[in-house]
């Protein structure tokens, strides 16, 4: 026989006569409540009772003996009440009512567990059915966008045979493709680009890079993009050009300034020479060719003016060359940026092309999720209905048990109202014994702590 204590939800517990008392937090075994003795706690497990208290014997210290006496009173009262119930027919009816109630309780407990299991099953199925499904988007140019989740394999390419033959390029080949930044720099500064970038440059190298596909690796979403060979070649070409332009933009401008300056001076020198010769002729005609005046820097005013003009032209050319070189540097950087941006254009276009596919996939995902949700709701509705049915049955049993016990109690109350009522004396003795025992325990504790009167 088990004793169910209010608030106690443990299983297999309960006070058993001649068995043991399972208390919350008490995990010890082998102990028990002995009739006529005290509380024997062979070893304290999780109960927060000092060992010396648990192992204290009656008649030892005054306080401890008083506590032990109190506990004995409590269990004594209980044992007395049990014996009185077993010896009465009303008590058997009460016991039957209790059993019905227990049965109702057990059924409720079982149906909850069953509902939980079935709900978990529905959840797992819904999770499985709502799992991300890999898909692949293929553009008309042959680029592919594929996704996968975890160990999923990417979706098969529906147009896997549309890759162009190797060596075909879209939009023609850049002369800078395949060149290292140093080669581009050399071509630029060496005049190869000054007179047009068409000549003297190496042939474009077709890209032969492998496609970038998602590789299943661990959990998570795997996204992969694969350009067509033409796009890969174009991308390689553009990125190579961007590298060349950036490399050139990063070069010092001094050499380029000098080159521009020399070209400007080469354009200016003939006219300067003509002016100089004309002035020389004028000075010679005037007999002033050998004139040197300190006021004019060791020359004539005309020579000084000419020299000043030439110096100013040189200065302007120098500044212009600096500005031009810097402009070219900026242009290289801009071109590098444009090439870089254009290099990623196939990828951007691929991403843009995946948008319709993503929408379709999203719609499919929504439909999938909707179906999964619908399934879950339907399944849960069934479970819920089953729960309600089981709950009703348990309530029915519980109600019968409750009615039986209520009948007994009412009958007992009626008997109690009479002058000799054994039941009343039994319950009164029970509660008085428990109260007396608790009073003894409190007095013992007070003695131990030294706070008693």
């Amino acid at each position: 026989m088990n004793l169910n204590l209010p608030g106690y939800t443990g299983t297999g517990g309960g006070a058993t006569i001649g068995g043991g008392l399972n208390l919350p937090g008490y995990t010890g075994t082998g102990g028990g409540l002995t009739t006529g003795g005290g509380l024997n706690i062979p070893a304290m497990g999780e109960a927060d009772i000092p060992v010396d208290l648990a192992t204290a014997t009656a008649g030892g210290l005054g306080g401890l003996g008083q506590i032990a006496g109190g506990i004995g009173d409590i269990f004594g009262g209980l044992m007395g009440a049990g014996q009185q119930a077993l010896s009465s027919p009303n008590a058997l009816m009460g016991l039957a009512g209790g059993l019905l109630t227990k049965e109702a309780y057990d059924r409720l407990s079982n149906i909850g567990e069953q509902a939980k299991r079935e709900a978990m099953g529905v959840a797992e199925r819904g999770q499985a059915e709502s799992q991300f499904r890999p898909f692949t988007v293929t553009t008309p140019t042959g680029a592919m966008f594929s996704t996968s989740m975890g160990d999923q394999q990417p979706a098969p390419t529906p147009m896997g045979a549309m890759a162009p033959p190797s060596g075909q390029f879209i939009g023609g080949a850049s002369p800078l493709a395949g060149m290292t930044p140093e080669q581009i720099q050399a071509a630029m500064t060496g005049g190869g680009l000054a007179g047009g970038i068409a000549g003297g440059l190496p042939a474009p190298q077709p890209a032969a890079q492998p496609a970038v596909m998602p590789t299943p690796a661990g959990d998570g979403l795997q996204v992969g993009m694969q350009l067509s060979p033409q796009e890969q070649a174009l991308q390689q070409q553009l990125l190579g050009g961007a590298g060349g332009f950036f490399g050139q933009a990063a070069q010092p401008t001094a050499d380029r300034e000098q080159a521009i300056f020399e070209r400007m001076r080469a354009a200016q020198r003939p006219e300067e020479e003509r002016q100089r010769l004309a002035l020389e002729e004028r000075l010679a005609a005037q007999g002033r060719l050998g004139t040197s005046s300190a006021a004019y820097g060791g020359a004539t005013p005309e020579l000084l003016a000419l020299s000043t003009a030439e110096r100013e032209a040189r200065d302007r050319s120098m500044l212009t060359a600096m500005q031009q070189a810097q402009a070219e540097q900026a242009q290289q950087a801009t071109l590098g940026g444009q090439f870089l941006g254009a290099g990623y254009l196939p990828q951007q276009q691929l991403i843009a092309a995946t948008q319709p596919g993503l929408i379709q996939q999203e719609l499919a995902q929504q439909a999938q999720q909707f179906g999964t949700g619908l399934f879950g709701e339907t399944a849960l509705s069934g479970i819920e209905a089953q729960l309600l049915a089981e709950q009703a049955r348990a309530n029915l049993l519980g109600g019968i048990g409750s009615n039986v016990i209520s009948g007994l109690i009412n009958q007992q109350r009626a008997a109690s109202a009479a002058p000799s009522s054994g039941g009343s004396s039994s319950l009164g003795g029970l509660f008085s014994s428990i109260a007396g025992g608790l009073g003894s325990i409190g007095g013992g504790i007070a003695d131990i702590l030294g706070i008693g009167g």
Binding site: R288, L289, G290, T291
Partner: protein
């Protein structure tokens, strides 16, 4: 039957000066074959030149050398000082010559040229650092030691210096004969700053190459005399922009010290004689006449034989331009008051004067440098010594060179020459052996009011003494040359005329 004497009157003989270029027979009697120590006087007559009166009394610093150049320093404050050079010294003073040579400054030549510029007098000679003197400093110092001096380097140690257009100009360097340097404006010691500068005219010479000899400034032009050509620059006020105005090829200047300004023209001695710059510019497209056209050969011979210095001076007071070849001790005197038919100046010759330098002072006084020091051109004696005046006419044919001329009388008319002994000479047919008749001119003392003329029995004149003598001549010939010599010793002498009385004989 006795023939009548024919009178040939030589009026104002040689008033056209010496002419050694034309044939003696065809010459005008107005020319002279010889006119030594003579000038053309104020009346157009040939006359004895003035002598020189030595001012210097103490010439220790000069020693036995001669004064090679004289210059009067003048500044705006009215300060004056006479500088001269000689005996490798810079000398000052006239009566007592003082050595002004800067300390530790060694001079081995006396070919200095001195110019006044902006209250300073500058001394330039090729290869020597220029010297400078100003009244405040009181001593001759090297140009580089002047405060603020700049650019004074051996490259500009020129032989020629010109003060014109607010600057000093120098040229004719030891190793550079085609460059002219000019100083900063009004700063004669700044040759590298301000508006100083230089010009190399080696590419300007009209005949390809020449060497600068002298510089002159005239009529807004900077005149650059080469040895064989002349270049005139205009706008020399701003040298950096001056330009060639004219060039003359084939005529140059012999020496910087022959260049003299006459106020309206620039005279210079070229290799073919004395030239005028103005006339040279005017006539450059025509045969250029020479101012010494009557003695061209003599001039050329003299300048070719010259081994020392050329010295010249222009005296508007005396009306002549003197040109001395010091190595030959000969001075040519050009009368600049007028020219003869061929455009030449009337010229006489002063031989053996010992003149080695000249300068004209601000007041017109003409100073002459000699070995005796500094003299003044004045009086009629060379430092109290007589000098010989000579006149010889060209050979005269009296209009008919085919007949014999038999001189009977010579009647010279002289002005002045108090107490002078006059030698009248004649020769026939180009003979160099002359017959001589000697006479002494009387003495005439000028009388003044309240002097003895009026209170004694002595005789006095009121002006110049005029002497006219009649001398008997001898010999005969087809051509006759008449001469007159006199020792000038204190009194002037002018030859007014010579009247020749001759018989015209038979035809030869």
């Amino acid at each position: 039957m006795a023939q009548q004497l024919q009178s040939i009157n030589l009026v104002a003989p040689a008033f056209k000066g010496v002419n050694t270029e034309d044939s003696p027979l065809a010459q005008d009697p107005s020319f002279a074959e010889i006119a030594d120590n003579a000038v053309i006087d104020k009346r157009g007559r040939i006359a004895a030149r003035k002598g020189h009166d030595v001012i210097t009394t103490t010439k220790t610093v000069l020693g036995t050398e001669s004064i090679r150049a004289i210059k009067e320093f003048r500044d705006d404050g009215g300060n004056t000082k006479i500088f001269s050079v000689g005996n490798n010294k810079i000398i000052s003073g006239t009566t007592t010559l003082v050595d002004e040579t800067p300390a530790s400054y060694t001079i081995t030549a006396d070919n200095w040229k001195m110019v006044n510029f902006n209250d300073n007098i500058y001394f330039f000679q090729r290869g020597y650092e220029p010297l400078v003197y100003d009244n405040a400093g009181g001593s001759v110092i090297k140009l580089s030691t002047v405060s603020g001096a700049a650019g004074v380097a051996s490259a500009m140690y020129g032989n020629e210096v010109l003060a014109a257009y607010g600057r000093l100009w120098t040229a004719d360097f030891s190793s550079n004969k085609s460059t002219i340097y000019w100083s900063d404006l009004l700063i004669g010691h700044d040759w590298s700053g301000g508006t100083s500068g230089n010009i190399d005219i080696s590419k300007v010479w009209p005949d390809g190459y020449d060497e600068i000899v002298a510089l002159a400034a005239h009529n807004g032009l900077l005149i650059i005399f080469g040895k064989h050509s002349i270049i005139a620059y205009q706008g020399a006020e701003a040298p950096a922009t001056m330009s060639v105005a004219d060039t003359v090829a084939g005529v140059g200047c012999v020496d910087r010290d022959t260049v003299q300004y006459t106020g309206t023209d620039v005279l210079f001695l070229s290799h073919t004689g004395l030239k005028s710059f103005g006339r040279t510019i005017q006539e450059k497209s025509m045969p250029i006449s020479s101012l010494s056209g009557n003695i061209t050969k003599d001039i050329i011979a003299s300048l070719q034989a010259e081994t020392e210095f050329f010295r010249s001076v222009y005296s508007p007071e005396e009306g002549f331009y003197l040109l001395t070849f010091t190595g030959q001790n000969t001075t040519f005197c050009f009368d600049v008051r007028g020219t003869v038919e061929n455009g030449s100046y009337r010229v006489t010759r002063w031989p053996g004067t010992g003149f080695t330098s000249f300068t004209r002072l601000e007041d017109g006084t003409l100073y002459i440098g000699t070995s005796q020091g500094i003299s003044e051109y004045t009086g009629y004696a060379d430092n109290d010594e007589a000098y010989r005046f000579k006149y010889y006419s060209p050979s005269l044919t009296f209009g008919d060179s085919s007949r014999i001329k038999i001189l009977k009388k010579l009647k010279p008319t002289l002005v002045g020459a108090n107490s002078a002994t006059v030698f009248l000479k004649w020769a026939y047919d180009f003979d160099t052996t002359f017959a001589t008749a000697e006479f002494t001119v009387g003495t005439q003392v000028t009388g003044y009011f309240n002097e003895s003329e009026f209170n004694s029995t002595a005789e006095f004149t009121g002006g110049e003494l005029t002497s006219q003598r009649s001398l008997n001549a001898t010999g005969y010939g087809t051509s006759v040359q008449v001469g007159l010599e006199a020792d000038i010793d204190g009194s002037p002498l002018s030859l007014q005329e010579i009247n020749v009385m001759a018989l015209i004989g038979k035809l030869l």
